[in-house]
């Protein structure tokens, strides 16, 4: 079978998703299916939404399943996951499509350190599923990537000092932060070994818990492999008052960028009051994972193509 053919890719994609599903089922996670539409999505400054015109009132296509999944913590469900489509307007590039597939999982009574463990183990199982053996080295763009855990862990502050020459924790400059993240830090992380980048500035993640011993830092972690950002997770913020303030701040940023504010997600906030005191959740880009494990260079190669939302 030609390695670029759709048949080859879809077969590998199936094997990867099957392995991920098995990983969760073996560990007592339940699989959920939540709606992809919503009237009051999570306010996020840098995510643009598709709006659907409907007879009664307009709604949005969700950019992530978080809006309906996180409140399930308040239902007493301790471990759950979902594999579903997600929609983000105007995101189109080698690693971006306006419609893509997310794997998202939550654990009650856990923090972001357990997500690092989960992620390493999941990646290893996904890799074994397609190589068929214990071999965890893969070749991508002529470079060998070593997927044998443990992966490198580096803080945002260390990575910025090393690759960009400044510390975003002591110098808040959002525009420069994202510019240098893309042009200096991410290329610096594109080595043989996958990397967890953790401990983001508190302002860079409105849904993460702030570190107890350092109020400038939030407990967020991103997973990079082969130069691609594959997963993003955090210790969940579960304080509804604090979350409301941060949502207002995100809506203010939206307006400053000339975007419409979104309605406050009141059910989402209310559910926090019945949630466990700690929980962690992570989202993984399935298309990018398939790209990584099949050596594909463009996200369009790893699923059936559709240009409707471009």
């Amino acid at each position: 079978m030609k390695t670029s053919s759709l048949k080859y890719i879809l077969t590998k994609r199936h094997l990867i998703i099957k392995a991920l599903r098995e990983w969760f089922c073996q560990r007592g996670f339940i699989e959920v299916q939540t709606p992809v539409t919503c009237r009051d999505p999570i306010p996020e400054a840098n995510i643009d939404l598709f709006q659907i015109k409907n007879r009664k009132s307009d709604c949005y296509l969700l950019p992530s399943p978080e809006r309906y999944m996180k409140p399930l913590l308040s239902q007493g469900i301790k471990r759950f996951f979902q594999i579903c489509p997600a929609f983000r307007r105007d995101e189109k590039g080698d690693y971006h499509r306006p419609e893509f597939t997310i794997l998202e999982w939550y654990r009650a009574d856990a923090d972001y350190n357990s997500l690092i463990e989960d992620c390493q183990s999941l990646i290893a199982d996904g890799c074994k599923a397609i190589t068929g053996h214990e071999e965890l080295n893969i070749v991508r763009n002529g470079m060998t990537i070593d997927l044998n855990p443990p992966f490198t862990v580096i803080t945002v502050s260390e990575a910025f000092k090393k690759f960009a020459g400044w510390n975003p924790l002591t110098n808040r400059n959002e525009a420069r932060f994202y510019h240098d993240m893309v042009t200096k830090v991410e290329p610096g992380l594109a080595g043989e070994k996958p990397v967890f980048l953790k401990d983001y500035p508190a302002w860079a993640s409105s849904l993460s818990r702030i570190k107890k011993d350092d109020r400038e830092v939030c407990e967020r972690v991103e997973f990079y492999a082969g130069g691609m950002e594959i997963a993003n997770g955090f210790s969940e913020l579960l304080d509804s008052e604090e979350q409301r303030k941060r949502f207002n701040e995100e809506n203010r940023k939206r307006q400053a960028l000339g975007k419409k504010p979104v309605p406050e997600p009141s059910e989402f906030l209310a559910a926090m009051n019945d949630s466990p005191s700690t929980a962690a959740g992570m989202a993984m880009g399935i298309d990018r994972l398939v790209m990584l494990l099949t050596g594909s260079s463009n996200i369009e190669q790893v699923n059936v193509h559709c240009s409707c939302l471009e």
Binding site: D90, H96, V182
Partner: protein
């Protein structure tokens, strides 16, 4: 106006008053962060290339570029002169703007001229042109090696390699993209 999300390879925009074409384009977006649009741009008049990174919310003026079909009249010390056959407007391009196209231009030939606002900036030739051979030595007798060629000079002064059977006075079809001989169209 274009927005950042309209940026893509091949789009023509104005930067500092000059028309640029995007020759390479990359969309980047760190998780939950601001999108960055990284472009390689080429100045359509000078050929100067540069890298620029744009953000969401940036706006761009489209470069108003139009192509007009024009007839080549003649060239002299002031440049290459062309005329719009419907309006009789005449324009002049410099030898630098004409470039290698001079090898294939003959009087009355119709070409496309690209205008930025009212200023002509470049020429595009038909893919194939027919030109007469003005000078070519006869092929050496007995030389039967396949693919053997000899030089020939065309009416424009351009010299190229042609098959041995080509003679002075023949009209040849030339590919203007490569400058190579295609076939003989008239003995």
């Amino acid at each position: 106006m274009y927005e950042s999300s309209d940026l893509r390879k091949g789009l023509k925009i104005i930067i500092d008053g000059a028309p640029y074409i995007i020759t390479d384009f990359q969309f980047s977006k760190p998780g939950k962060g601001q999108a960055l649009y990284r472009c390689k741009l080429k100045n359509m008049i000078t050929g100067y290339t540069m890298d620029r990174t744009y953000r969401s919310g940036d706006k761009f003026e489209p470069a108003n570029l139009q192509e007009s079909r024009m007839q080549f009249l003649y060239n002299d010390a002031t440049g290459y002169h062309f005329m719009d056959t419907s309006t009789y407007d005449q324009i002049t391009l410099t030898p630098e703007q004409i470039g290698d196209a001079k090898n294939f231009l003959k009087d009355n030939m119709e070409v496309d001229i690209l205008f930025f606002d009212e200023t002509p900036i470049s020429i595009s030739l038909p893919t194939f042109v027919e030109l007469e051979v003005v000078k070519s030595d006869p092929g050496i007798k007995g030389d039967t090696a396949t693919g053997a060629t000899k030089p020939a000079t065309l009416e424009t002064g351009y010299t190229l390699q042609v098959p041995l059977f080509i003679e002075e006075g023949n009209v040849l079809k030339i590919d203007t993209r490569t400058g190579e001989y295609v076939e003989r169209v008239k003995n």
